[in-house]
Amino acid sequence: MITAVKQKEMLLEPEAYQILRKYDIPLPASRYVCQENEAVAAAKEIGYPVAMKVVSSEIAHKSDVGGVKLNLENESEVRKAYCNIMKLAEQYGHCVDGVLITEMIKDGVEVIIGCSEDAEFGKYIIFGLGGIFVELFKDVSVRVLPLTSFDVEQMISEVKSSKLLTGYRSEKAKYIKGVVDIILKLSKLIEEENIAEVDLNPVIVREDDVYVVDARVFVY
């Protein structure tokens, strides 16, 4: 049994942001710019510190090629980061569309939320805590679509590392309701749009809010 492999294509991050915003999924304030001076103006408008991410259809893993600069505190750091990113892209021979300037979201628990397609059961959502918990311990939970808020609450509490969200040691409990909300909105998005795969990594969960900090969206 051979099923035809459907071609999928990664959206540029500003496009991914657009589709996520349409479904009211919380994202940091951001501006997509194509020039150094625009980058400076955007950073000022958003308010320091900011993050800068390369936007290129040829770069799938931005940080691997030095395409992500965090905690830029002022104009000169923004200019330096911009030049740096452009230079690196040139070195690697990548065509660059521009950069995304975003608000810095700090001090929270990193989680990942993803969507992919299974050979037997179709689209599913995967959840886990970021970094080593997913990569090393494979501590993830999965639910297939369609799902209820009960399913989502269960899948969050099911991962062993979820204690980090409910308040481990002296840490206060994080905004789990916001995570539930993102997963439900994402599942709606997936059912309504022609989406092949989504990788929200990381999603930063703090005490009172939650933000999707990095998004990779693939469409057919």
Binding site: A119, F121, V142
Partner: protein
């Protein structure tokens, strides 16, 4: 689905390819049907014999003077389309095609031809390339091995050996089965038809499903959402090597392991990792009602057994029930000092059936106990009667652990199993089965 009652409740069947040669499946299957005490009428079909296993043999299906509801077919693959055409004309309603040599052997066109014929005549078919069907309420063992004992466990298997092994274990333990169906190539009847049928079958209490790949993921989920009876699943292909082997065995394209685990949690299916867990969970669910909670009370004759059970309870996320202080005081005053009153409740070497009964009845008044797990670690005769009596008098479920009891253990276990009281030969297996099946129930609520 009442559609399949023409298969399971068939009042007459023909074995096409019936043989007098004991090394042939046409002989083994007919002999199991006869020895199993099939309730309906049997017609062997073999043009070369006058008698098969003492029965008049017919040259072909159309030579049988009466109606035939079910055809069990064990002939060379290329003969199957003609036999099915004849079956259709004869008015046969269902078929079990044991013959192999179809899509599993690259003979796709041959299988499609058979499917075309059964659609034309509206025949329901299990197989081809399967190990047959056993439905004990109809005493119809159209498969191997011979399994006669009726029980509440229905087994649906994409592997003949897995179905046979599970069924035989259930019989050896005195539990029995309601059905064993070998799916084979699933050219017509698939797991969805069977899940639906057994969910409504009054002779079935729990369904055990061995499946390498589902026929249709979405339809499977819709069915899972509707099922009322518990379903225990063993789905291999958890590793890359296993997936490759499943692809070779049944052409299965298996999905990701974590996705299937998610599906089971989401839809309240009991996912097991190996044949041992698969059997234990199916056994427990075919014998018990829904567990109302996870607090377990141990009453033991064995200190070691109690310790092992405590570890298992904690590790499997179950809970040790707490006995109220009042009751503890009362029981301490009543029984010798060397008893350990509490949980575990250790009766030590003084344990006897009457003592188990007395203490379980007294503890059953406690509100915080959901399940009693009496542990019998010695050859104590008569515990079966005691536990069966207690079961009638209390609300809590009883799951027995019996080990270290040698021949007495075998006898007592059989007595309990025949009365539908589950017994496990180790504390871990008892607790593990409770924990695995309990999780299923809790996710449904």
């Amino acid at each position: 689905m009442s559609q399949l009652s023409c298969l399971f409740e068939a009042k007459s069947l023909a074995v096409v390819g019936a043989s007098n040669n004991p090394s042939k499946y046409g002989n083994i299957v007919l002999s199991n049907i006869l020895e199993g005490g099939y309730k309906g009428v049997v017609y062997p079909v073999n043009p070369k014999e006058a008698l098969v296993l003492g029965l008049k043999s017919y040259p072909s299906l159309s030579d049988i003077p009466d109606d035939v509801e079910l055809a069990v077919i064990i002939v060379k693959n290329h003969m199957v389309p003609d036999v099915m055409e004849e079956a259709g004309k004869k008015g046969v309603k269902s078929a079990i095609i044991i013959s192999g040599g179809f899509s599993e052997a690259g003979e796709k066109a041959l299988q499609e031809k058979v499917v075309e014929i059964i659609k034309k005549y509206k025949i329901r078919m299990v197989g081809p390339n399967c190990q047959g069907v056993n439905y004990t309420p109809n005493k119809m063992c159209a498969t191997w091995p011979l399994i006669k004992q009726e029980g509440k466990m229905a087994i649906i298997s994409q592997s003949g050996s897995v179905g046979a092994e599970l069924g035989k274990q259930a019989e050896n333990e005195g539990i029995g089965v309601s059905a064993i169906v070998s799916l084979g190539n699933k050219a017509d009847v698939n797991e969805l038809d069977l899940l639906e049928y057994f969910d409504q079958d009054k002779n079935t209490g729990a369904i055990a499903l061995y499946l390498e790949a589902v026929s249709n993921g979405k339809a499977f989920l819709n069915m899972a959402a509707r099922l009322k009876k518990p379903v225990v699943i063993l789905k291999p292909g958890k590793t890359e090597a296993g997936q490759k082997a499943a692809n070779t065995h049944t052409n299965s394209i298996t999905g990701k392991r974590e996705v299937f685990e998610g599906v089971c949690r989401q839809y309240g299916l009991i996912n097991t990792d190996n044949l041992g867990e698969f059997y234990d969970c199916a056994k427990l669910l075919s014998m018990t009602k829904k567990l109302r909670g996870k607090k377990i009370q141990l009453v033991s004759s064995s200190g070691g057994g109690a310790v092992l059970a405590c570890d298992a309870i904690v590790e499997e996320n179950m809970e040790l029930a707490m006995i109220s202080e009042d009751r503890c005081r009362k029981l301490k005053a009543k029984y010798p000092q060397h008893f350990t009153v509490g949980n575990p409740f250790d009766l030590t070497g003084d344990a006897n059936p009457a003592l188990y009964k007395e203490i379980m009845l007294e503890l059953s008044k406690e509100e915080g106990i959901d399940v009693f797990m009496p542990i019998v670690g010695d050859p104590i005769r008569g515990v079966a009667e005691a536990f069966l009596e207690v079961r009638e008098l209390i609300d809590q479920e009883i799951v027995v652990c019996f080990f270290g009891g040698a021949e007495v253990q075998v006898e007592e276990t059989m007595k309990m199993h025949k009365q539908g009281l589950p017994v496990f030969p180790s504390p871990y297996r008892a607790v593990k089965a409770i924990a695995q099946t309990f999780q299923k129930k809790s996710s449904i609520n």
